[in-house]
Amino acid sequence: MKNDNNHIDYARLIGKYLAKEASAEEITALEKWVAESDENKDTFNKYKQSWILSGINKKNKKIDVEREWVTLSSKLFRNRIEPTPSPKVKELQPGIPLIFRIAAAVVVLFAVSFFLYNFFLKPGTVEMMATTTIETETLSDGTTITLNRNSTFKYPKKFTKDVRKVELTGDAYFEVEHNKNQPFIIESQNIEIEVLGTSFYVDSHEDNSTVEVVVNSGGVALRSDKENQIILKAGDKGIFNKKTGKLFMEKNTDVNYNSWNTKLLVFDDTKLAKVVDKLNEVYDTNIEIINPEIDNYRITVTFDNMTIEAVINILRETLDIVIEKHDNGYFISGE
């Protein structure tokens, strides 16, 4: 920290701010310092995160979890047993003149028709949904897309305009056919991903706080608006923070980012707990470690396009552990 110039100890000030001890003047001074440079802002953030992290284990005697649970469960589960319609609605309905009810019905009818038209009849647009299985599609220009579970993709049957525009919600891997006269643009939650010809992975679920793009080959432009864009090359990962609207770039360090698609998994001295998480995601199964002592076992192994049964056998033999099959997954129990 550069705090010697004016003899204010900013670590002390940040501490006071976080502990709610800072005076109005001190807050103003701290604000000024944080706004001064990105470096200061970064320092402040690190202290703030340390402060938040340090509170995670707090034994809060003032919280009675049992009582809180009773409050919540009585609210949630009593309603379930007696599903009574909301009384407010009941009282109001007879008071609404017939003409308004008809008008409302007409509006609803229009809205539904519009929706149906857009989704099913609008010429040339195809909506592809992957729910429980991974789907692959080749578009009219030769581009292939592999759509992961719980994802939706919309594309025109034919690309007739000067750009190839598609829409994605969820995550998918793209291999875009090269055509420098007709850029390929993916729209996803306020961000545009523009490419000429390349392969890359996009993770853009509505519930994520970020949109992430990992480039496998070629180049990709990630754009939040006209002024803000970053250019990504092979091996780069672009991140769009939806809350702050900021774009970041870093080197991709997750070798298994595309394993759901390729079924190629590489683990290098990785904790078993992490391996299991990844396997559950890639094979859409439910492997559980019952004995927590095993969580920290480490393993170095490559699984290349294997069945889950083969993977389980390798784990069993390499680590000398007991793995039992159950209805929809496996239990890892011990030595």
Partner: protein, 185 residues
């Protein structure tokens, strides 16, 4: 990657288990933002209510745990904003756009808890004592000074020392802000 919460078999039993396992942690987390314990509890209650009512709709590519933490954080920030409770727009809200380590990698929560405990235990004795009184007992600097018979300046110094130490010890869990400068092309 995408995993519907309902696919994780979120039945009543698992829901209750999640509640018992995470309620206190989530309240601690919320309290780091909103300070007031009752508000923190209320926010966490709402997040659990939503999780149950919308379990069919919610999808998260991470896990339920990370969904819970992210939702609590977002609600806290909305709460601060809506109730004009922030002391400083810049320090309370604008700088809160980071993802916490447990949102990014929830598989490591128990590992993180151990690490935090170790980090606090590794503080010099006096420093740990002051920090715990402030962070866990929510004592004011003045009260800590009186209890330990030290000056407020010393309390300030011990807290900042503790924070520096924690920042160092926990650095792998602190998400670094990447200051992106468009150098290419």
């Amino acid at each position: 990657m995408a995993k519907n919460i309902s696919n994780n078999n979120l039945d009543k039993h698992l829901f209750e288990q999640l509640f018992h396992e995470h309620f206190v942690h989530l309240c601690n987390f919320a309290q780091s933002f909103v300070y007031d314990l009752d508000e923190a509890k209320e926010i966490v209650q709402v997040v659990f209510t939503n999780l149950w009512l919308k379990k069919e709709e919610i999808t998260t590519e991470k896990s339920i745990k990370s969904y819970l933490y992210t939702s609590v954080r977002n609600r806290c920030l909305n709460f601060i904003r809506d109730h004009k409770k922030f002391r400083s727009q810049l320090l309370d809200l604008d700088t809160a756009g980071f993802d916490m380590a447990y949102e990014v990698d929830p598989s490591g929560i128990s590992e993180l808890e151990n690490k935090v405990e170790m980090a606090i235990d590794s503080l010099p004795e006096k420093c740990a004592e002051v920090f715990k009184l402030s962070r866990f007992e929510e004592m004011k600097y003045k009260e800590i000074g009186e209890k330990l018979n030290i000056s407020i300046k010393t309390v300030e110094a011990q807290i900042s020392k503790a924070l520096k130490h924690l920042r160092e010890e926990l650095k792998e869990y602190i998400i670094i802000f990447i200051l992106f400068i468009l150098k290419m092309f």
